[in-house]
């Protein structure tokens, strides 16, 4: 398989994995919302950090750390960088709008700090992942 073909296959896989990751993040927020066990110092509390940290890292560098330099360069070429930039812009908007929504929501029902942070971070990262996945997937 040539490097081009490898990069193409990995690109498709990356788009799919990102879409699934977004779904997992949202599901986790729904699962953990209002549960104090997930807001305490310990394994459960830290699990959220690991999840968020992983996907922030992927959004930052585009993933594809395993393959060699050339395949990674093809995976993260000009177009992919532009797509990632557009995705992160949407993530920023999502973060701010969700933050505002949580603020307004807090007038109607008390929202714990941990839950608000999970909603904002999961929403923003999921928006970025889904946008990136969509932009990449539709080109294949």
């Amino acid at each position: 398989m040539t490097d081009i073909e490898k990069a193409e296959r990995m690109g498709r896989a990356r788009a799919l994995i990102m879409a699934l990751a977004a779904a997992v993040l949202i599901f986790n927020v729904w699962l953990q919302y209002g549960d104090p066990q997930y807001a305490s110092a310990g394994g459960r509390g830290a699990s959220w950090l690991v999840l968020i940290g992983l996907w922030l890292f992927i959004l930052w560098n585009g993933g594809g750390l395993r393959p060699g330099g050339r395949v990674r360069a093809l995976l993260n070429d000009e177009l992919s960088l532009q797509n990632r930039s557009r995705a992160l812009a949407l993530g920023f908007y999502a973060a701010i709008l969700l933050t505002l929504a949580c603020y307004v929501g807090a007038w109607l029902t008390p929202i714990a700090a941990g839950d608000a942070l999970k909603i904002v971070s999961a929403g923003a990262i999921s928006a970025a992942l889904l946008r990136y996945a969509w932009l990449e997937w539709r080109l294949h």
């Binding site: 922030l56 930039s85 993530g91 941990g114 608000a116 971070s121 923003a124």
Partner: protein
């Protein structure tokens, strides 16, 4: 496009580059007053006004970032003010601000595991980091572009 449009866009663009970091300082100063003042949940009318002012300012600043400002100028002037380079700067600012907001979320989450933290307080901090970072980064990039010209 006339020479006057170019001159207007140049002047307004420079002004915008100077104002953006000032907006960030203003926004962050307003946030500081939120944390240093009495609890906004006390229900006093002045607290409602403070919250409304903060929400209004957040939305206006977000719109400025999204559109580049110059709302009352002609389409030609706005197109010049928001050309390719400015759009690239804005995208860069949004990337930067996204990660700034997420780092704030992570930091506050860690803090919340060990210390009690208020829901509204974290929201204020995340908003400050997000919008403040975007304004500062966008302003810096625009200022650098004008300085090098």
């Amino acid at each position: 496009m006339t020479t006057t449009d170019y001159e207007k866009a140049e002047r307004l663009g420079r002004k915008r580059a100077q104002m953006l970091p000032l907006f960030a300082i203003l926004f962050l100063t307003q946030q500081a007053s939120y944390f240093s003042g009495p609890n906004v949940d006390s229900g006093r009318p002045v607290d409602h006004i403070r919250i409304a002012a903060w929400l209004a300012m957040s939305i206006v600043l977000l719109l400025v970032l999204a559109t580049g400002g110059g709302w009352f100028r002609s389409r030609e002037v706005r197109a010049l003010m928001n050309d390719e380079a400015t759009q690239a700067h804005r995208n860069d600012a949004f990337r930067f601000a996204f990660f700034a907001a997420m780092i704030a979320c992570v930091g506050l989450y860690v803090l919340g595991l060990f210390e009690p933290v208020g829901g509204r307080d974290v929201i204020h901090v995340v908003m400050s980091c997000g919008i403040g970072a975007a304004l500062v980064r966008f302003g810096m990039l625009e200022r650098r572009a004008y300085r090098d010209a």
